[in-house]
Protein backbone atom coordinates (compact mmCIF):
# COMPACT_ATOMS: atom_id res chain seq x y z
CA UNK A 1 0.00 0.00 0.00
CA UNK A 2 1.27 3.44 -0.84
CA UNK A 3 1.05 6.30 1.60
CA UNK A 4 -0.24 8.66 -1.06
CA UNK A 5 -0.60 11.75 1.06
CA UNK A 6 3.04 11.42 2.07
CA UNK A 7 4.04 10.79 -1.53
CA UNK A 8 2.17 13.88 -2.71
CA UNK A 9 4.33 16.05 -0.49
CA UNK A 10 7.34 14.92 -2.50
CA UNK A 11 5.92 16.42 -5.71
CA UNK A 12 6.13 20.23 -5.67
CA UNK A 13 3.84 20.65 -8.67
CA UNK A 14 0.96 18.88 -6.95
CA UNK A 15 0.45 21.80 -4.61
CA UNK A 16 0.15 24.12 -7.57
CA UNK A 17 -3.09 25.95 -8.29
CA UNK A 18 -4.24 26.49 -11.84
CA UNK A 19 -6.45 29.34 -13.05
CA UNK A 20 -7.81 31.21 -10.04
CA UNK A 21 -7.09 28.75 -7.32
CA UNK A 22 -8.11 25.35 -8.65
CA UNK A 23 -5.82 22.71 -7.17
CA UNK A 24 -4.07 20.81 -9.96
CA UNK A 25 -5.46 17.31 -10.53
CA UNK A 26 -2.95 15.60 -12.78
CA UNK A 27 -4.61 12.79 -14.69
CA UNK A 28 -2.21 12.90 -17.63
CA UNK A 29 0.68 10.76 -16.41
CA UNK A 30 0.50 8.50 -19.44
CA UNK A 31 1.64 11.53 -21.45
CA UNK A 32 4.26 12.51 -18.90
CA UNK A 33 4.60 12.01 -15.16
CA UNK A 34 5.33 14.64 -12.56
CA UNK A 35 8.69 14.63 -10.75
CA UNK A 36 9.50 14.22 -7.08
CA UNK A 37 11.74 16.73 -5.36
CA UNK A 38 14.58 14.16 -5.20
CA UNK A 39 14.71 13.95 -8.99
CA UNK A 40 14.65 17.71 -9.46
CA UNK A 41 17.27 18.08 -6.74
CA UNK A 42 19.54 15.49 -8.36
CA UNK A 43 19.62 17.66 -11.48
CA UNK A 44 20.38 20.80 -9.47
CA UNK A 45 23.09 18.95 -7.53
CA UNK A 46 24.62 17.83 -10.78
CA UNK A 47 24.75 21.30 -12.30
CA UNK A 48 25.82 23.02 -9.10
CA UNK A 49 28.22 20.37 -7.91
CA UNK A 50 29.89 18.24 -10.56
CA UNK A 51 28.77 19.11 -14.08
CA UNK A 52 31.48 17.83 -16.44
CA UNK A 53 31.68 15.87 -19.63
CA UNK A 54 31.86 12.14 -18.88
CA UNK A 55 34.53 9.61 -19.84
CA UNK A 56 38.25 10.14 -20.15
CA UNK A 57 38.37 13.35 -18.16
CA UNK A 58 41.41 13.43 -15.91
CA UNK A 59 39.92 15.93 -13.44
CA UNK A 60 37.83 15.59 -10.30
CA UNK A 61 34.49 16.70 -11.74
CA UNK A 62 34.71 14.45 -14.75
CA UNK A 63 35.55 11.50 -12.53
CA UNK A 64 32.54 12.29 -10.35
CA UNK A 65 30.12 12.82 -13.22
CA UNK A 66 31.30 9.68 -15.00
CA UNK A 67 30.78 7.65 -11.83
CA UNK A 68 27.28 9.07 -11.31
CA UNK A 69 26.38 8.59 -14.96
CA UNK A 70 27.49 4.96 -15.04
CA UNK A 71 25.96 4.33 -11.64
CA UNK A 72 22.59 5.44 -13.04
CA UNK A 73 23.05 3.00 -15.90
CA UNK A 74 23.62 0.21 -13.40
CA UNK A 75 20.44 1.21 -11.56
CA UNK A 76 18.47 0.92 -14.79
CA UNK A 77 20.00 -2.49 -15.48
CA UNK A 78 19.06 -3.74 -12.02
CA UNK A 79 15.59 -2.23 -12.24
CA UNK A 80 14.65 -4.28 -15.31
CA UNK A 81 16.73 -7.36 -14.49
CA UNK A 82 19.22 -6.88 -17.33
CA UNK A 83 22.20 -9.23 -17.37
CA UNK A 84 24.65 -6.32 -17.35
CA UNK A 85 24.80 -2.54 -17.53
CA UNK A 86 26.49 -3.07 -20.90
CA UNK A 87 23.03 -3.86 -22.26
CA UNK A 88 21.64 -0.43 -21.34
CA UNK A 89 21.83 2.26 -24.00
CA UNK A 90 20.80 5.82 -23.15
CA UNK A 91 18.56 7.40 -25.76
CA UNK A 92 16.26 10.44 -25.75
CA UNK A 93 13.00 8.55 -25.39
CA UNK A 94 11.13 5.35 -26.25
CA UNK A 95 10.71 6.55 -29.80
CA UNK A 96 14.44 6.89 -30.38
CA UNK A 97 15.04 3.51 -28.72
CA UNK A 98 12.70 1.79 -31.17
CA UNK A 99 14.11 3.70 -34.13
CA UNK A 100 17.59 2.61 -33.11
CA UNK A 101 16.55 -1.03 -33.50
CA UNK A 102 14.85 -0.24 -36.82
CA UNK A 103 18.03 1.44 -38.10
CA UNK A 104 20.50 -1.21 -36.93
CA UNK A 105 19.30 -4.71 -36.09
CA UNK A 106 16.36 -4.62 -38.51
CA UNK A 107 18.57 -3.50 -41.40
CA UNK A 108 20.64 -6.67 -41.06
CA UNK A 109 17.93 -9.09 -40.06
CA UNK A 110 14.74 -8.28 -41.97
CA UNK A 111 14.66 -9.45 -45.56
CA UNK A 112 12.23 -9.61 -48.45
CA UNK A 113 9.31 -11.89 -47.65
CA UNK A 114 9.85 -11.72 -43.89
CA UNK A 115 7.09 -10.67 -41.55
CA UNK A 116 7.08 -8.12 -38.75
CA UNK A 117 4.23 -8.53 -36.30
CA UNK A 118 2.82 -5.73 -34.16
CA UNK A 119 -0.44 -5.38 -32.27
CA UNK A 120 -3.44 -3.22 -33.09
CA UNK A 121 -2.75 -1.34 -29.84
CA UNK A 122 0.59 0.15 -30.85
CA UNK A 123 1.60 3.71 -30.24
CA UNK A 124 2.75 5.40 -33.46
CA UNK A 125 6.30 5.05 -32.20
CA UNK A 126 6.10 1.27 -32.42
CA UNK A 127 4.24 1.24 -35.71
CA UNK A 128 5.54 3.90 -38.09
CA UNK A 129 9.22 2.78 -37.88
CA UNK A 130 8.16 -0.76 -38.81
CA UNK A 131 6.07 0.49 -41.71
CA UNK A 132 9.25 1.94 -43.13
CA UNK A 133 11.36 -1.15 -42.49
CA UNK A 134 8.68 -3.32 -44.09
CA UNK A 135 8.48 -1.04 -47.12
CA UNK A 136 12.25 -0.73 -47.54
CA UNK A 137 12.86 -4.43 -47.11
CA UNK A 138 9.80 -5.68 -48.96
CA UNK A 139 8.71 -7.41 -45.80
CA UNK A 140 5.12 -7.60 -44.58
CA UNK A 141 3.78 -5.83 -41.54
CA UNK A 142 1.08 -7.86 -39.82
CA UNK A 143 -1.20 -6.83 -37.01
CA UNK A 144 -2.57 -8.81 -34.09
CA UNK A 145 -6.21 -7.68 -34.10
CA UNK A 146 -8.41 -6.74 -31.18
CA UNK A 147 -11.20 -8.62 -29.50
CA UNK A 148 -14.43 -6.82 -28.73
CA UNK A 149 -13.14 -5.52 -25.39
CA UNK A 150 -9.95 -4.17 -27.02
CA UNK A 151 -7.77 -6.87 -25.58
CA UNK A 152 -5.70 -8.76 -28.15
CA UNK A 153 -7.60 -11.32 -30.18
CA UNK A 154 -5.18 -14.25 -30.02
CA UNK A 155 -7.38 -16.77 -31.83
CA UNK A 156 -5.19 -16.66 -34.95
CA UNK A 157 -1.91 -16.12 -33.15
CA UNK A 158 -0.36 -19.38 -34.33
CA UNK A 159 -0.83 -18.30 -37.92
CA UNK A 160 0.30 -14.75 -37.23
CA UNK A 161 3.48 -15.95 -35.55
CA UNK A 162 4.99 -18.28 -38.13
CA UNK A 163 8.39 -19.17 -39.54
CA UNK A 164 8.40 -16.04 -41.71
CA UNK A 165 8.04 -13.87 -38.61
CA UNK A 166 11.37 -12.21 -37.85
CA UNK A 167 10.27 -9.70 -35.25
CA UNK A 168 7.38 -9.38 -32.85
CA UNK A 169 7.22 -5.75 -31.66
CA UNK A 170 4.54 -5.16 -29.07
CA UNK A 171 3.41 -2.74 -26.46
CA UNK A 172 3.25 -4.21 -22.98
CA UNK A 173 0.69 -1.75 -21.66
CA UNK A 174 -1.44 0.39 -23.94
CA UNK A 175 -1.13 4.10 -23.30
CA UNK A 176 -4.44 4.63 -25.02
CA UNK A 177 -6.76 2.27 -23.16
CA UNK A 178 -4.59 0.65 -20.50
CA UNK A 179 -4.71 -2.97 -21.70
CA UNK A 180 -1.82 -5.09 -20.44
CA UNK A 181 -0.65 -7.61 -23.02
CA UNK A 182 0.65 -11.13 -22.30
CA UNK A 183 4.10 -10.32 -23.64
CA UNK A 184 5.80 -13.23 -21.93
CA UNK A 185 3.51 -15.77 -23.61
CA UNK A 186 3.82 -14.04 -26.96
CA UNK A 187 7.60 -13.85 -26.59
CA UNK A 188 7.70 -17.62 -26.03
CA UNK A 189 5.73 -18.18 -29.24
CA UNK A 190 8.06 -15.83 -31.08
CA UNK A 191 11.12 -17.67 -29.76
CA UNK A 192 9.64 -20.94 -30.93
CA UNK A 193 9.75 -19.74 -34.55
CA UNK A 194 13.08 -17.97 -34.11
CA UNK A 195 11.69 -14.44 -34.17
CA UNK A 196 13.18 -11.60 -32.13
CA UNK A 197 11.02 -9.81 -29.58
CA UNK A 198 10.82 -6.08 -28.93
CA UNK A 199 8.72 -4.83 -26.03
CA UNK A 200 7.52 -1.24 -25.91
CA UNK A 201 7.68 -0.67 -22.16
CA UNK A 202 6.89 3.06 -22.22
CA UNK A 203 3.85 2.49 -20.01
CA UNK A 204 4.70 -0.82 -18.35
CA UNK A 205 8.14 -0.06 -16.91
CA UNK A 206 6.82 2.98 -14.98
CA UNK A 207 3.74 1.18 -13.70
CA UNK A 208 4.57 -2.44 -12.87
CA UNK A 209 7.50 -4.77 -12.21
CA UNK A 210 9.15 -5.61 -15.55
CA UNK A 211 11.94 -8.15 -15.85
CA UNK A 212 13.61 -8.72 -19.20
CA UNK A 213 14.93 -12.11 -18.16
CA UNK A 214 11.45 -13.24 -17.19
CA UNK A 215 9.84 -11.95 -20.40
CA UNK A 216 12.85 -13.18 -22.35
CA UNK A 217 12.75 -10.31 -24.81
CA UNK A 218 15.57 -9.08 -27.01
CA UNK A 219 14.74 -5.38 -26.83
CA UNK A 220 12.94 -3.25 -24.27
CA UNK A 221 12.31 0.46 -24.87
CA UNK A 222 11.12 3.03 -22.35
CA UNK A 223 11.28 6.73 -21.40
CA UNK A 224 12.46 8.47 -18.24
CA UNK A 225 9.86 11.23 -18.35
CA UNK A 226 6.97 8.80 -17.86
CA UNK A 227 8.51 7.27 -14.73
CA UNK A 228 9.25 10.32 -12.58
CA UNK A 229 12.48 11.02 -14.46
CA UNK A 230 13.64 13.99 -16.51
CA UNK A 231 12.68 14.74 -20.09
CA UNK A 232 15.18 13.90 -22.80
CA UNK A 233 16.34 10.57 -21.44
CA UNK A 234 15.21 7.15 -22.59
CA UNK A 235 16.50 3.62 -22.50
CA UNK A 236 17.01 0.80 -24.92
CA UNK A 237 17.81 -2.55 -23.40
CA UNK A 238 19.31 -5.07 -25.82
CA UNK A 239 20.17 -8.66 -24.98
CA UNK A 240 23.93 -8.90 -24.75
CA UNK A 241 24.68 -11.35 -27.53
CA UNK A 242 22.51 -9.41 -29.95
CA UNK A 243 24.02 -6.09 -29.00
CA UNK A 244 27.52 -7.43 -29.56
CA UNK A 245 26.69 -8.10 -33.18
CA UNK A 246 24.85 -4.85 -33.88
CA UNK A 247 26.36 -2.13 -36.07
CA UNK A 248 26.49 1.33 -34.50
CA UNK A 249 23.68 3.79 -35.18
CA UNK A 250 24.72 7.42 -34.68
CA UNK A 251 28.41 8.07 -35.28
CA UNK A 252 30.79 10.59 -33.78
CA UNK A 253 32.54 11.37 -30.54
CA UNK A 254 32.64 8.85 -27.70
CA UNK A 255 31.36 5.84 -29.68
CA UNK A 256 34.69 5.30 -31.43
CA UNK A 257 37.86 3.51 -30.38
CA UNK A 258 40.27 4.64 -33.04
CA UNK A 259 39.78 7.11 -35.86
CA UNK A 260 41.87 8.01 -38.87
CA UNK A 261 40.80 10.36 -41.64
CA UNK A 262 39.75 7.30 -43.64
CA UNK A 263 38.24 4.95 -41.13
CA UNK A 264 37.09 4.29 -37.59
CA UNK A 265 36.69 1.41 -35.16
CA UNK A 266 34.19 1.19 -32.34
CA UNK A 267 34.28 1.61 -28.60
CA UNK A 268 33.11 -1.23 -26.37
CA UNK A 269 29.53 -1.75 -25.18
CA UNK A 270 27.38 0.13 -24.41
CA UNK A 271 29.21 3.32 -25.42
CA UNK A 272 29.42 2.19 -29.03
CA UNK A 273 25.77 3.19 -29.27
CA UNK A 274 26.05 6.56 -27.59
CA UNK A 275 27.48 9.15 -29.94
CA UNK A 276 28.32 12.61 -28.70
CA UNK A 277 27.90 14.13 -25.29
CA UNK A 278 25.08 12.27 -23.55
CA UNK A 279 22.30 13.78 -21.45
CA UNK A 280 24.30 13.50 -18.23
CA UNK A 281 21.81 15.36 -16.03
CA UNK A 282 19.02 13.31 -17.58
CA UNK A 283 20.68 9.98 -16.83
CA UNK A 284 21.48 11.00 -13.28
CA UNK A 285 17.90 12.20 -12.77
CA UNK A 286 16.69 8.89 -14.14
CA UNK A 287 18.79 7.14 -11.50
CA UNK A 288 17.12 9.24 -8.83
CA UNK A 289 13.69 8.36 -10.24
CA UNK A 290 14.52 4.66 -10.02
CA UNK A 291 15.67 5.12 -6.43
CA UNK A 292 12.32 6.71 -5.67
CA UNK A 293 10.34 3.94 -7.35
CA UNK A 294 12.42 1.26 -5.64
CA UNK A 295 11.73 2.96 -2.34
CA UNK A 296 8.01 2.46 -2.91
CA UNK A 297 8.23 -0.95 -4.53
CA UNK A 298 6.93 -1.58 -8.03
CA UNK A 299 4.36 -4.12 -6.80
CA UNK A 300 2.86 -1.39 -4.66
CA UNK A 301 2.91 1.05 -7.55
CA UNK A 302 1.05 -1.43 -9.72
CA UNK A 303 -1.48 -2.26 -7.00
CA UNK A 304 -2.22 1.39 -6.48
CA UNK A 305 -2.89 1.79 -10.20
CA UNK A 306 -5.22 -1.18 -10.13
CA UNK A 307 -7.06 0.15 -7.11
CA UNK A 308 -7.58 3.57 -8.72
CA UNK A 309 -8.71 2.00 -11.96
CA UNK A 310 -11.17 -0.17 -10.09
CA UNK A 311 -12.50 2.84 -8.25
CA UNK A 312 -12.88 4.74 -11.52
CA UNK A 313 -14.63 1.89 -13.31
CA UNK A 314 -16.95 1.42 -10.33
CA UNK A 315 -17.79 5.12 -10.09
CA UNK A 316 -18.29 5.51 -13.81
CA UNK A 317 -21.04 2.86 -13.64
CA UNK A 318 -23.32 5.77 -12.79
CA UNK A 319 -22.99 6.99 -16.39
CA UNK A 320 -22.97 3.50 -17.83
CA UNK A 321 -25.83 4.07 -20.23
CA UNK A 322 -24.23 6.98 -22.03
CA UNK A 323 -20.49 6.73 -21.47
CA UNK A 324 -18.52 4.29 -23.58
CA UNK A 325 -15.41 3.05 -21.72
CA UNK A 326 -12.81 1.19 -23.75
CA UNK A 327 -10.67 -1.79 -22.80
CA UNK A 328 -11.20 -4.93 -20.73
CA UNK A 329 -13.37 -4.54 -17.66
CA UNK A 330 -11.04 -6.45 -15.33
CA UNK A 331 -8.65 -3.95 -13.66
CA UNK A 332 -6.03 -6.67 -13.47
CA UNK A 333 -5.90 -6.76 -17.28
CA UNK A 334 -5.95 -3.00 -17.72
CA UNK A 335 -4.91 -0.34 -15.35
CA UNK A 336 -3.61 3.16 -14.99
CA UNK A 337 -5.71 4.44 -17.89
CA UNK A 338 -9.42 5.04 -18.40
CA UNK A 339 -10.32 6.06 -21.93
CA UNK A 340 -13.89 6.97 -22.70
CA UNK A 341 -16.30 8.78 -24.97
CA UNK A 342 -19.71 10.36 -24.50
CA UNK A 343 -21.87 10.85 -27.59
CA UNK A 344 -23.15 14.25 -26.42
CA UNK A 345 -19.86 15.89 -25.49
CA UNK A 346 -16.90 16.10 -27.81
CA UNK A 347 -13.71 15.08 -25.96
CA UNK A 348 -12.20 18.52 -26.57
CA UNK A 349 -15.15 20.26 -24.97
CA UNK A 350 -14.97 17.85 -22.07
CA UNK A 351 -11.24 18.46 -21.76
CA UNK A 352 -11.75 22.21 -21.65
CA UNK A 353 -14.47 21.98 -19.00
CA UNK A 354 -12.29 19.71 -16.85
CA UNK A 355 -9.27 21.92 -17.39
CA UNK A 356 -11.15 24.90 -15.96
CA UNK A 357 -11.73 22.79 -12.86
CA UNK A 358 -8.00 22.11 -12.59
CA UNK A 359 -8.28 18.59 -13.96
CA UNK A 360 -5.75 17.70 -16.64
CA UNK A 361 -6.76 14.88 -18.95
CA UNK A 362 -5.76 14.14 -22.56
CA UNK A 363 -8.19 14.19 -25.44
CA UNK A 364 -7.54 13.00 -28.94
CA UNK A 365 -5.99 9.88 -30.41
CA UNK A 366 -3.14 9.53 -27.91
CA UNK A 367 -0.71 8.69 -30.73
CA UNK A 368 -2.74 5.58 -31.50
CA UNK A 369 -4.73 6.93 -34.41
CA UNK A 370 -5.54 3.60 -36.07
CA UNK A 371 -6.74 2.19 -32.75
CA UNK A 372 -8.97 5.15 -31.94
CA UNK A 373 -10.41 5.07 -35.48
CA UNK A 374 -11.22 1.42 -35.02
CA UNK A 375 -13.26 2.40 -31.97
CA UNK A 376 -15.48 4.39 -34.31
CA UNK A 377 -14.98 7.73 -32.60
CA UNK A 378 -12.98 10.77 -33.68
CA UNK A 379 -11.19 10.96 -30.34
CA UNK A 380 -11.42 9.75 -26.77
CA UNK A 381 -10.98 11.42 -23.42
CA UNK A 382 -8.27 9.72 -21.37
CA UNK A 383 -7.62 9.95 -17.67
CA UNK A 384 -4.39 8.28 -16.59
CA UNK A 385 -3.23 7.59 -13.06
CA UNK A 386 0.02 7.25 -11.20
CA UNK A 387 1.33 6.75 -7.72
CA UNK A 388 0.36 10.25 -6.55
CA UNK A 389 -3.32 10.10 -7.53
CA UNK A 390 -6.17 9.55 -5.10
CA UNK A 391 -9.72 8.26 -5.16
CA UNK A 392 -10.84 11.81 -4.41
CA UNK A 393 -9.25 12.97 -7.64
CA UNK A 394 -11.12 10.27 -9.52
CA UNK A 395 -14.32 11.50 -7.86
CA UNK A 396 -13.54 15.05 -8.94
CA UNK A 397 -13.13 13.75 -12.49
CA UNK A 398 -16.57 12.17 -12.35
CA UNK A 399 -18.09 15.38 -10.98
CA UNK A 400 -16.46 17.31 -13.79
CA UNK A 401 -17.83 14.95 -16.41
CA UNK A 402 -21.30 15.32 -14.96
CA UNK A 403 -20.99 19.09 -15.00
CA UNK A 404 -19.95 18.98 -18.64
CA UNK A 405 -22.92 16.81 -19.43
CA UNK A 406 -25.23 19.33 -17.82
CA UNK A 407 -23.52 22.08 -19.80
CA UNK A 408 -23.51 20.41 -23.19
CA UNK A 409 -25.67 17.41 -22.89
CA UNK A 410 -28.86 17.92 -24.81
CA UNK A 411 -28.49 15.06 -27.14
CA UNK A 412 -26.96 17.48 -29.62
CA UNK A 413 -24.28 14.91 -30.30
CA UNK A 414 -20.88 15.39 -31.83
CA UNK A 415 -21.77 14.25 -35.35
CA UNK A 416 -22.51 17.07 -37.78
Amino acid sequence: MLDVSKIREDFPILSKKVYDGQPLIWLDSAATSQKPRSVIQSIVDYYEGFNANVHRGVHALSIESTAAFEDARQKVADFIGAESSECIIWTRNTTESINLVAHTWAQENIHAGDEILVTALEHHSNLVPWQKVARDKKATLRIIPLAKDQSLDLSEIDTLINPRTKLVAMVQKSNSIGTTNPVKELAAKARAVGAAVLVDGAQSVPHMPVDVADIDCDFLAFSGHKMLGPTGIGVLYVKHDILERMEPFLRGGDMVLEVSYEDASWNSLPWRFEAGTPNMAGAIGMGAAIDYLNGLGMENVRDHDIQLTKHALDSFKELEEELEIYGPKDPALRSGVVSFHHPDVHPHDLGTVLDRRGIAIRTGHHCTMPLVRSLGVPATARASFYLYNTNEEVDALLDGIKEALRYFGNGAGTAG
Partner: protein, 149 residues
Protein backbone atom coordinates in the same frame (compact mmCIF):
# COMPACT_ATOMS: atom_id res chain seq x y z
CA UNK B 1 -17.17 28.46 -9.88
CA UNK B 2 -15.03 27.26 -12.74
CA UNK B 3 -17.87 27.02 -15.18
CA UNK B 4 -18.53 30.72 -14.99
CA UNK B 5 -15.23 31.48 -16.61
CA UNK B 6 -16.04 28.88 -19.21
CA UNK B 7 -18.92 31.04 -20.35
CA UNK B 8 -16.43 33.38 -21.93
CA UNK B 9 -15.54 30.60 -24.29
CA UNK B 10 -18.84 28.87 -24.58
CA UNK B 11 -21.03 31.89 -25.04
CA UNK B 12 -24.70 31.33 -25.44
CA UNK B 13 -24.49 32.02 -29.13
CA UNK B 14 -21.86 29.28 -29.50
CA UNK B 15 -23.91 26.77 -27.60
CA UNK B 16 -26.98 27.74 -29.58
CA UNK B 17 -25.20 27.35 -32.96
CA UNK B 18 -23.81 24.05 -31.78
CA UNK B 19 -27.28 22.79 -30.98
CA UNK B 20 -28.86 24.15 -34.11
CA UNK B 21 -26.19 24.33 -36.78
CA UNK B 22 -27.27 26.47 -39.73
CA UNK B 23 -27.03 25.35 -43.35
CA UNK B 24 -26.31 21.78 -42.33
CA UNK B 25 -28.00 20.18 -45.30
CA UNK B 26 -25.82 18.97 -48.06
CA UNK B 27 -26.27 20.96 -51.28
CA UNK B 28 -27.01 18.79 -54.28
CA UNK B 29 -26.58 21.73 -56.63
CA UNK B 30 -23.32 23.57 -56.00
CA UNK B 31 -20.53 25.44 -57.80
CA UNK B 32 -17.64 24.49 -55.59
CA UNK B 33 -16.74 22.41 -52.55
CA UNK B 34 -14.09 22.48 -49.88
CA UNK B 35 -12.95 20.00 -47.25
CA UNK B 36 -10.69 20.24 -44.26
CA UNK B 37 -9.57 17.70 -41.71
CA UNK B 38 -7.60 17.93 -38.53
CA UNK B 39 -6.38 14.40 -37.91
CA UNK B 40 -5.09 15.38 -34.47
CA UNK B 41 -8.65 15.95 -33.27
CA UNK B 42 -10.46 13.70 -35.69
CA UNK B 43 -12.34 16.78 -36.90
CA UNK B 44 -13.73 17.00 -40.43
CA UNK B 45 -15.51 19.67 -42.45
CA UNK B 46 -17.26 19.26 -45.80
CA UNK B 47 -18.55 22.39 -47.49
CA UNK B 48 -20.59 23.15 -50.64
CA UNK B 49 -21.17 26.63 -52.09
CA UNK B 50 -23.63 27.92 -54.71
CA UNK B 51 -23.12 31.29 -56.47
CA UNK B 52 -25.45 33.56 -58.37
CA UNK B 53 -24.40 35.00 -61.73
CA UNK B 54 -22.71 37.95 -60.02
CA UNK B 55 -20.58 35.50 -58.04
CA UNK B 56 -22.34 36.10 -54.76
CA UNK B 57 -22.76 33.05 -52.53
CA UNK B 58 -26.43 32.18 -52.40
CA UNK B 59 -26.39 28.84 -50.64
CA UNK B 60 -24.05 27.02 -48.29
CA UNK B 61 -24.01 23.40 -47.16
CA UNK B 62 -21.80 22.40 -44.25
CA UNK B 63 -21.39 18.97 -42.69
CA UNK B 64 -18.75 17.54 -40.46
CA UNK B 65 -17.61 16.26 -37.16
CA UNK B 66 -16.04 18.24 -34.39
CA UNK B 67 -16.23 19.95 -31.06
CA UNK B 68 -18.61 22.80 -30.19
CA UNK B 69 -16.14 25.45 -31.21
CA UNK B 70 -15.57 23.90 -34.58
CA UNK B 71 -19.27 23.38 -35.18
CA UNK B 72 -20.36 26.78 -33.99
CA UNK B 73 -17.63 28.49 -35.97
CA UNK B 74 -18.74 26.62 -39.08
CA UNK B 75 -22.38 27.41 -38.53
CA UNK B 76 -21.68 31.12 -37.99
CA UNK B 77 -19.41 31.13 -41.02
CA UNK B 78 -22.10 29.60 -43.20
CA UNK B 79 -24.45 32.42 -42.27
CA UNK B 80 -21.85 35.12 -42.73
CA UNK B 81 -20.76 33.85 -46.14
CA UNK B 82 -24.21 34.03 -47.65
CA UNK B 83 -24.76 37.07 -49.83
CA UNK B 84 -21.04 37.89 -50.03
CA UNK B 85 -18.71 37.83 -53.01
CA UNK B 86 -15.50 35.77 -52.84
CA UNK B 87 -13.54 38.97 -52.31
CA UNK B 88 -15.73 39.98 -49.40
CA UNK B 89 -15.45 36.50 -47.94
CA UNK B 90 -11.67 36.59 -48.16
CA UNK B 91 -11.63 39.83 -46.23
CA UNK B 92 -13.85 38.24 -43.62
CA UNK B 93 -11.66 35.14 -43.34
CA UNK B 94 -8.69 37.36 -42.96
CA UNK B 95 -10.39 39.22 -40.13
CA UNK B 96 -11.31 35.99 -38.34
CA UNK B 97 -7.75 34.70 -38.54
CA UNK B 98 -6.38 37.97 -37.22
CA UNK B 99 -8.94 37.98 -34.43
CA UNK B 100 -7.75 34.55 -33.34
CA UNK B 101 -4.14 35.64 -33.44
CA UNK B 102 -5.00 38.46 -31.07
CA UNK B 103 -4.50 41.26 -33.55
CA UNK B 104 -5.72 44.43 -31.77
CA UNK B 105 -6.95 46.01 -34.98
CA UNK B 106 -9.17 43.04 -35.72
CA UNK B 107 -10.50 43.28 -32.20
CA UNK B 108 -11.48 46.91 -32.64
CA UNK B 109 -13.72 45.76 -35.49
CA UNK B 110 -15.58 43.26 -33.38
CA UNK B 111 -19.04 44.68 -34.01
CA UNK B 112 -19.84 44.25 -37.67
CA UNK B 113 -20.02 40.54 -38.12
CA UNK B 114 -23.01 39.42 -36.08
CA UNK B 115 -22.64 36.13 -34.25
CA UNK B 116 -19.03 35.73 -35.35
CA UNK B 117 -17.92 38.11 -32.65
CA UNK B 118 -18.69 35.39 -30.15
CA UNK B 119 -15.63 33.46 -31.34
CA UNK B 120 -13.56 36.10 -29.58
CA UNK B 121 -13.31 34.00 -26.39
CA UNK B 122 -11.49 31.20 -28.21
CA UNK B 123 -8.35 33.30 -28.28
CA UNK B 124 -7.79 32.46 -24.63
CA UNK B 125 -7.56 28.76 -25.51
CA UNK B 126 -4.69 28.50 -27.99
CA UNK B 127 -5.25 24.82 -28.52
CA UNK B 128 -8.85 25.44 -29.59
CA UNK B 129 -8.05 28.10 -32.17
CA UNK B 130 -7.41 25.37 -34.71
CA UNK B 131 -10.89 24.02 -34.02
CA UNK B 132 -12.42 27.41 -34.73
CA UNK B 133 -10.43 27.90 -37.92
CA UNK B 134 -11.00 24.50 -39.52
CA UNK B 135 -14.26 25.49 -41.30
CA UNK B 136 -12.51 28.56 -42.65
CA UNK B 137 -9.84 26.37 -44.23
CA UNK B 138 -12.56 24.47 -46.05
CA UNK B 139 -13.98 27.80 -47.20
CA UNK B 140 -10.56 28.89 -48.45
CA UNK B 141 -10.27 25.71 -50.42
CA UNK B 142 -13.74 26.05 -51.93
CA UNK B 143 -13.05 29.61 -53.06
CA UNK B 144 -9.65 28.76 -54.49
CA UNK B 145 -11.34 26.27 -56.82
CA UNK B 146 -13.59 28.89 -58.38
CA UNK B 147 -12.47 30.12 -61.78
CA UNK B 148 -12.74 33.72 -60.63
CA UNK B 149 -10.95 32.70 -57.44
Amino acid sequence: MALERLDDLYRDAILEHRRNPRNADKLEDFDTTGDAVNPFCGDEIHLQLKQDDKGRITAVGLQGEGCSINRASGSMMSEAAKGKTPTEIRALTDWVRKLMQGDPEAESQLSPEGDLRNLFGVREYPIRIKCALLPWSALDEALSKLSDG
